[in-house]
């Protein structure tokens, strides 16, 4: 304890220099926490978005994702009701949504375009609500009766190319499972954007029942399982797979290619930034400690004469570096906390990421485990830098050190 007290006195000795070294450490700490906090936030939002778009788990025919179908719905699911019933009694499961993927032609009578359609139950829109950005009209109502015209919800780009407004009629044509061509009229119920221009040009939603009639099938392409808690996905993956071994169960991350590529990119960028910050701290501390050791040469000679071992002398310097590291880390955590809070209050908007047309709020996720680990690493880096500097600086003989001026 007494030695720590002396180390404190020594840190305060050249207050100005110590202050700047602490400042450099604090800035490095802040940079690491803010950038990785931003990455963490991005990962979480992308994970949530991916899980909301596709479902935490997707149940399909085992060959659905791997093999190309010869005819529509060749690798569809026919007997999934028992799985659905079983899942719906589980209170961790939020929804079980069967879907049909279909493609074909959309026409307004004068012009035709290709569409990529999703046949969904109307409850899909409640489950995915905030993630589908409605620009006009409303989502599918879910009211299906034989005499009513079925509804379609168009993505913005597709609606534009069809010159379709809410309430207009359009025709969808698709190949049925038995190879015939079928066409139905639909009324435009709403227009939305996915935020991804390429998707917006082609995508539309129709009711699951209409999709079944259009391509003449009783099967579905996939069944999406939505959980209340994203973190429960891994756990549920095994239990759902155990329900029926004739189906494949895929977790969201295996299908979240955008998430994976962003994560890989950010890990590289922010990893590099982190390494640079660590090097900055290393050289800054090692420089400070070399100056300190040189200035105190005669003092080192004095305490060595008094019987201090070299290891003890180095230990005292390491304690000083440790104090600087810890002070810098604490200051960095405080600054990062203030930045996090300020961004929350100011609500800055980030430009749209590549491949997207919508910006998003700049938010930083403050993570205590990350702050603690980074503090530990930076303090260790400070101590190692000091070890390098003092090891080199403390190698004078006692008599040389004592006569140093």
């Amino acid at each position: 304890m007494r030695w720590v007290h002396f180390a404190f006195l020594n840190v305060l000795r050249n207050g100005r220099r110590s202050f700047f070294t602490i400042l450099v450490t604090a800035i490095a700490m802040t940079a690491i926490l803010v950038s990785s906090g931003f990455a963490l936030f991005t990962y979480h939002s992308l994970a949530e978005k991916a899980a909301r778009d596709e479902g935490n788990l997707t149940i399909t025919h085992p060959r659905f994702f791997t093999d190309e179908e010869d005819v529509p719905m060749q690798y569809g699911l026919s007997n999934f009701e028992h799985i659905r019933d079983e899942l719906l009694v589980d209170d961790e499961v939020k929804a079980v949504l069967p879907r049909i993927n279909l493609s074909g032609l959309v026409s307004n009578g004068e012009k035709t375009a290709i569409f990529l359609g999703l046949g969904v139950e109307a409850s899909e829109f409640q489950v995915k609500g905030p993630f589908l950005n409605m620009l006009a009209g409303s989502p599918l109502s879910g009211v299906t009766s034989d005499d009513a015209v079925p509804e379609v919800v168009l993505a913005q780009g597709l609606a534009q190319s069809m010159k379709a407004k809410v309430g207009d009629n359009i025709t969808l044509m698709a190949t049925t499972t038995d190879g015939a061509l079928n066409a139905f009229d639909f009324v435009v119920k709403g227009i939305y954007t996915t935020g991804v221009p390429d998707l917006d040009k082609r995508q539309l939603y129709i009711d699951l029942a209409s999709a079944k009639s259009l391509i003449n099938t009783e099967k579905v392409s996939s069944v999406a399982v939505y959980l209340f808690d994203l973190d429960k996905t891994t756990e549920k993956l095994a239990s759902v797979a155990a329900l029926d071994n004739t189906v494949a169960v895929t977790p969201w991350w295996q299908r979240a290619f955008y998430f994976q590529s962003v994560q890989a990119l950010y890990n590289r960028i922010f990893g590099l930034l982190g390494v640079m910050m660590v090097l900055l701290v290393f050289f800054s501390i090692s420089n400070t400690m070399s100056m300190t050791v040189t200035e105190r040469t005669r003092e080192i000679g004095t305490i060595a004469a008094m019987g201090c071992y070299r290891g003890e002398i180095i230990r005292n310097f390491l304690m000083e570096a440790g104090i600087i590291g810890i002070a810098g880390a604490i200051a960095g955590v405080v600054i990062a906390g203030i930045v996090t809070w300020a961004l929350l209050v100011l609500g800055l908007e980030m430009p749209p990421p590549p491949g997207s047309s919508q910006g998003y709020p700049l938010t930083i996720e403050f993570s205590w485990p990350l702050a603690l680990i980074t503090s530990a690493i930076l303090t260790l880096v400070c101590v190692l830098a000091a070890l390098k500097a003092t090891w080199q600086g403390c190698n004078k003989t006692i008599t040389d050190a004592l006569s140093y001026v």
Binding site: R298, E299, T302, A304, A305, M306, G307, I398, L402
Partner: protein
């Protein structure tokens, strides 16, 4: 207590070799205060560095308390920590520590308990007459006061041997007298052997024995009159 025989030491600067000690021998009694005189450059510091186990690089034999001094650096450090106190010309106090903490330092190195440390430091700081200055840092003390703190620091662990290299060279005469008397009196109380390098007669007059170095050779200077007076 301390005995050396045929000590030789040479320094190599560039290609020229300087013989600082040319085979010196002496025996110093336990508890005596010995002045080591000689002009500047005569080898006083060189001899003190060897006797104080600061410089292991010499030829000849050195016995401390009847035992040959080991060659191992760790062992030398351990002996210095336990048995040798140092007083320097420029005081060499640690500037960020108070007078009290400077005196406490050697006891801390010896792992002495807090209660005992405090008691011994308090006693020592009073003995050098600086009780009122316990909390002051060295830069707030005069040269004489700083050297008194340094004396307390050297003596607080009650060392067998105290090495002092020109301790009064930076002090005016009255202060020097005070410092010399303090060293001698406290040294006697503790029973330490003192070797004091000096070319200062204010000092030699007050020591038990004076040995003189000149040009790397040692000669004994007996001062019967003084020995009677101070015996």
């Amino acid at each position: 207590m301390l005995r050396f025989a045929n000590l030789t030491k040479s320094y190599l600067t560039g290609t020229t070799e300087v013989q600082a000690l040319k085979g010196v021998s002496a025996h110093i009694e336990q508890g005596s205060t010995v002045a080591l005189c000689g002009p500047s450059g005569s080898g006083k510091s060189t001899l003190l560095n060897i006797c104080g186990l600061l410089d292991p690089d010499y030829q000849g034999e050195l016995y401390l308390g009847g035992e040959l001094v080991p060659a191992n650096a760790q062992a030398l450090t351990s002996i210095r920590r336990e048995k040798i106190g140092f007083i320097f010309q420029r005081y060499n106090l640690i500037p960020v520590m108070s007078a009290f903490e400077n005196i406490e330092y050697p006891l801390l190195m010896l792992g002495i308990s807090k209660a005992e440390r405090y008691e011994r430091v308090a006693r020592m700081i009073d003995a050098v007459g600086l009780g009122k200055f316990a909390k002051q840092r060295p830069d707030r003390l005069s040269g004489g006061q700083q050297q008194r703190v340094a004396i307390a620091r050297a003596l607080v662990k009650e060392p067998r041997l105290v090495i002092a290299d020109e301790p009064t060279a930076n002090l005016d005469t009255p202060t020097a007298h005070l410092v010399i008397d303090l060293m001698r009196d406290l040294g006697r109380e503790v029973g330490s052997t003192f070797i004091i390098a000096t070319h200062d007669h204010r000092m030699t007059d007050r020591c038990d024995r004076v040995i003189e170095l000149s040009d790397g050779h040692l000669t004994e200077q007996t001062k019967p009159a003084l020995q009677l007076a101070w015996g």
